[in-house]
């Protein structure tokens, strides 16, 4: 077991900002939807719009980071060990069996995570962004009579946006719980806060920043 630098500064910044924004968008969004009352309707609309734009900016930076660092490859779904991972959650975890996939700096996600996160990234988030933008700029009829842009009813847009919102809340609940299924109950959480995690196997030398290495060696 070696302590490794798994989540780098931007990744953690991105994760926590995204978490805060999604929670905030969820609360304000479901107020706009009429399900809850919290900020007051006018504030909820205003906050939701500001948070949405912030989220878009964050997404642009995140995409840039994923592409330039090659980290996007982490999310490519795979069949390998998929069944084993599912079996682990259904049976192994209760018997204290070892994780079927080793978490390494080069492969942080297990096959189930890969599928779920890929689904979020290519399906749910894009649907939310597109319907969200349409919602924001929705006018019927379109100004200047651009007929091809005429969406007659907000209903389709709103319904898709609502479905996405429900899925994200479900993901959020499951995600909170799955955090506790790491090496220890809190190891995943600690890793996302500090960036370091005890991983099985040999440390991945290249990924360790020089000053960290020094500090580790001095111990």
């Amino acid at each position: 077991m070696k302590k490794e630098y798994v989540y780098r500064a931007f990744e953690r910044f991105w994760h926590w900002t995204q978490a805060a924004l999604i929670i905030f968008l969820g609360v304000s969004g479901f107020e706009i939807h009429g399900s809850i009352h919290f900020f007051g309707y006018e504030n909820a609309v205003q906050y939701h719009n500001i948070a949405a734009i912030s989220f878009l900016i964050l997404i642009v930076f995140a995409i840039f980071w994923h592409l330039t660092t090659g980290e996007w490859r982490q999310y490519i779904p795979t069949w390998k060990n998929l069944r084993a991972q599912a079996q682990y959650y259904i049976f192994g975890i209760f018997r204290d069996a070892p994780h079927p996939t080793k978490k390494t700096v080069l492969s942080k996600l297990n096959p189930l995570q890969k599928i779920v996160y890929a689904g979020l990234k290519v399906l749910v988030i894009p649907v939310m962004v597109v319907t969200g933008l349409l919602y924001m700029f929705y006018r019927y009829p379109q100004k200047y009579e651009v007929l091809s842009l005429n969406v007659k009813s907000l209903e389709t847009i709103a319904v898709l946006h609502t479905i996405g919102a429900f899925l994200l809340v479900a993901f959020f609940i499951a995600h909170l719980y799955l955090i506790t299924t790491g090496q220890t109950v809190t190891s995943n959480l600690k890793a996302m806060i500090t960036g370091y995690e005890e991983l099985e196997g040999e440390p991945h030398e290249k990924k360790i920043e020089p000053e960290i290495k020094e500090a580790a060696l001095s111990k």
Binding site: A9, I32, H33, G34, Y41, E42, V45, Q46, N49, Y89, I93, F94, R95, D96, R139, Y140, P141, K152, S153, L154, E155, A158, V159, T162, I163, A165, F166, L167, V169, A170, I173, A174, L176, Y177, T180
Partner: protein
């Protein structure tokens, strides 16, 4: 490197926020502050009419006043004679009915129903002297009543039941020497009392507007901008801007808030987005009839009950008429929330002789529009409901003769005999009367445009964007966020959340239980 990058990013964000905050504090004049400066400034008349010798000679007939006026203002009387104020009708295109001359002269309503047979009384509010429904009367420019609109002395009034002649007590010389631009008093003398009493018809036009506070009407407020009717209802050649859909049907010549305020008057762009589909009035007139009640229901079928052979009246605890032998029973309302409709500026009307279906309320006028119509917006409307007389055999509304000059002339207000009133009234409009009458429910739609409240009192978001009982609860054909949802999506969403929660609880619970079971075993092994 990284630290520098992030501190730069943070600095940039802070700088941006500071700039945004500074921008908002700008003290530049806004379109609204310009309007507030422009309108209270009253123009001084360029001449003093009290000095003209023409207006000093003794007037014995009001027509002599008109002659004196047009001796200088020549051609002006002819302009009036082209106006709706004079003709009480104009050519209007009505969908499905073609181009028709409609107006007070021939349109029925569900208040005092119509003027035919009661001209002597109703035409007290005509801008002429001695109304007669003849060409001779309408082509004589001396019959134009200049003073009704241009009196600035506040002493002019028309006599009741004298077809528009001035009250004998009026000093015509004094009034003629004190003329000017029409004031709220001039307009209100007729327009606030339509339907036979204060605020009966409109609900948003009533005597409180002679001297209103800002809370009653931000524009006309005596303690505010103190705008006069003609500040918005401007005129070119005596053709007034503005119309009412009780007697009009085309989308033209309307007074629009946007003329002064523009279509994007809010700082908040989300509010500005509303203006595409929501009329200004919808949010800015939260209630009408703010000071005195307006009639909401008028049941003519109750009229005619007598006590000891004499007509009587009943008032409620506020002193409002709830029953009159001559008119029937009423329901009044104060601080009324309007009803809301999609309205594109065109309307249809019940025209005399149109066949009705007495099994459902007859729409005296219909406001057109729906969500898909690019010209339609949501408008606040006063709906006046009633029960009025109709011919049960010919299936059309009856124009009864109401006003009675002398007993036995058939006027309902003298004889209290519906048969005779129907007979005389229908004779007036040249339609046969079968001799059999009944009472049918009717509805009339009056868009609400006045009594604009201060912005703090505007309708708030959740009065419409709410699941239950919102102001727009009955308006269909579009998706309203906060009100509408797809029931199956809601079910799916709540289902998936419950399943996830249940999964988490079960899975987590099982993990805890299993761990406890393993623990003693592990402890034993350790020993």
């Amino acid at each position: 490197m990284k630290k520098i990058f992030f501190s730069l990013l943070l600095l940039g964000a802070i700088l941006g926020l500071v700039l945004m905050a500074l921008q908002k504090k700008s003290t530049e004049s806004t379109p609204l502050s310009d309007l507030k400066k422009e309108y209270p400034a009253k123009t001084k008349p360029s001449v003093d009419h009290s000095l003209f010798p023409e207006l000093k000679k003794k007037f014995t007939r009001p027509q002599e006043v008109t002659a004196a006026c047009i001796s200088c203002h020549n051609g002006r009387a002819e302009e009036v004679m082209h106006s709706t104020h004079w003709n009480w009708e104009r050519l209007e295109y009505i969908e499905g009915k073609g181009i028709r001359a409609i107006g007070k002269r021939n349109i029925l309503n569900n208040f005092c129903i119509g003027i035919a047979g009661s001209e002597k009384s109703c035409t007290r509010c005509h801008v002429g002297y001695g109304y007669e429904n003849t060409t001779a009367y309408f082509t004589d420019s001396l019959n134009v009543d200049c003073l009704a609109c241009h009196d600035n002395s506040g002493t002019y009034m028309k006599a009741s039941e004298k077809a528009g002649m001035p009250d004998p007590s009026v000093n015509l010389n004094f009034v003629a020497q004190h003329v000017g631009k029409p004031t709220r008093t001039d307009c209100g003398t007729c327009h606030f009392f339509g339907g036979g009493g204060n605020n009966v018809k409109h609900g948003d036009l009533e005597e409180a507007l002679f001297d209103p506070t800002r809370n009653v009407d931000v524009h006309m407020a005596s303690d505010g901008v103190n705008m006069q009717c003609v500040d918005c209802h401007t005129a070119q050649k005596h053709q007034m801007l503005g119309k009412m859909y009780s007697v009009s049907s085309m989308n033209r010549n309307r007074v629009q808030c946007e003329t002064c305020h523009g279509s994007m008057p809010h700082i908040d762009n989300v509010l500005n987005d509303h203006t595409l589909k929501v009329a200004c009035q919808t949010c800015h007139i939260p209630v009408y009839a703010k000071v005195n009640p307006t009639k909401l229901f008028w049941d003519w079928s109750q009229a005619g009950r007598l006590k000891d052979g004499k007509p009587f009246e009943e008032k409620d605890s506020n002193g409002t008429d709830v029953y009159m032998s001559i008119k029937g029973a009423f329901v009044w309302g104060k601080n009324v929330k309007p009803e809301y409709l999609w309205f594109n500026g065109t309307a249809s009307h019940y025209l005399v002789g149109d066949t009705i279906d007495s099994s459902k309320p007859v729409k005296i006028n219909t406001l057109y529009g729906n969500y898909d119509d690019p010209d339609a917006k949501i408008y606040p409307v006063k709906v006046h409901r009633g029960k009025q007389i109709y011919d049960t055999q010919y299936h059309y509304l009856i124009q009864p003769k109401l006003f009675s000059a002398k007993p036995g002339d058939g006027g309902f207000w003298g004889d209290f005999n519906w048969n005779r009133a129907a007979e005389e009234g229908m004779k007036k409009i040249n339609l046969p009367y079968s001799g059999k009458y009944g009472f049918v429910q009717t509805e009339m739609y009056w868009p609400v445009n006045h009594m604009v409240s201060p912005k703090e009192q505007a309708v708030s978001c959740t009065e419409c964007h709410t699941r239950d009982n919102g102001r727009l609860a009955h308006l269909n054909g579009f998706y309203l966020p906060g009100r509408d949802y797809d029931a199956s999506v809601e079910l799916f969403g709540k289902g998936i959340l419950l399943l996830t929660l249940a999964g988490v609880v079960l899975h987590g619970g099982a993990r805890i239980v299993m761990k406890r079971k393993r623990q003693p075993k592990a402890d034993k092994e350790a020993k």
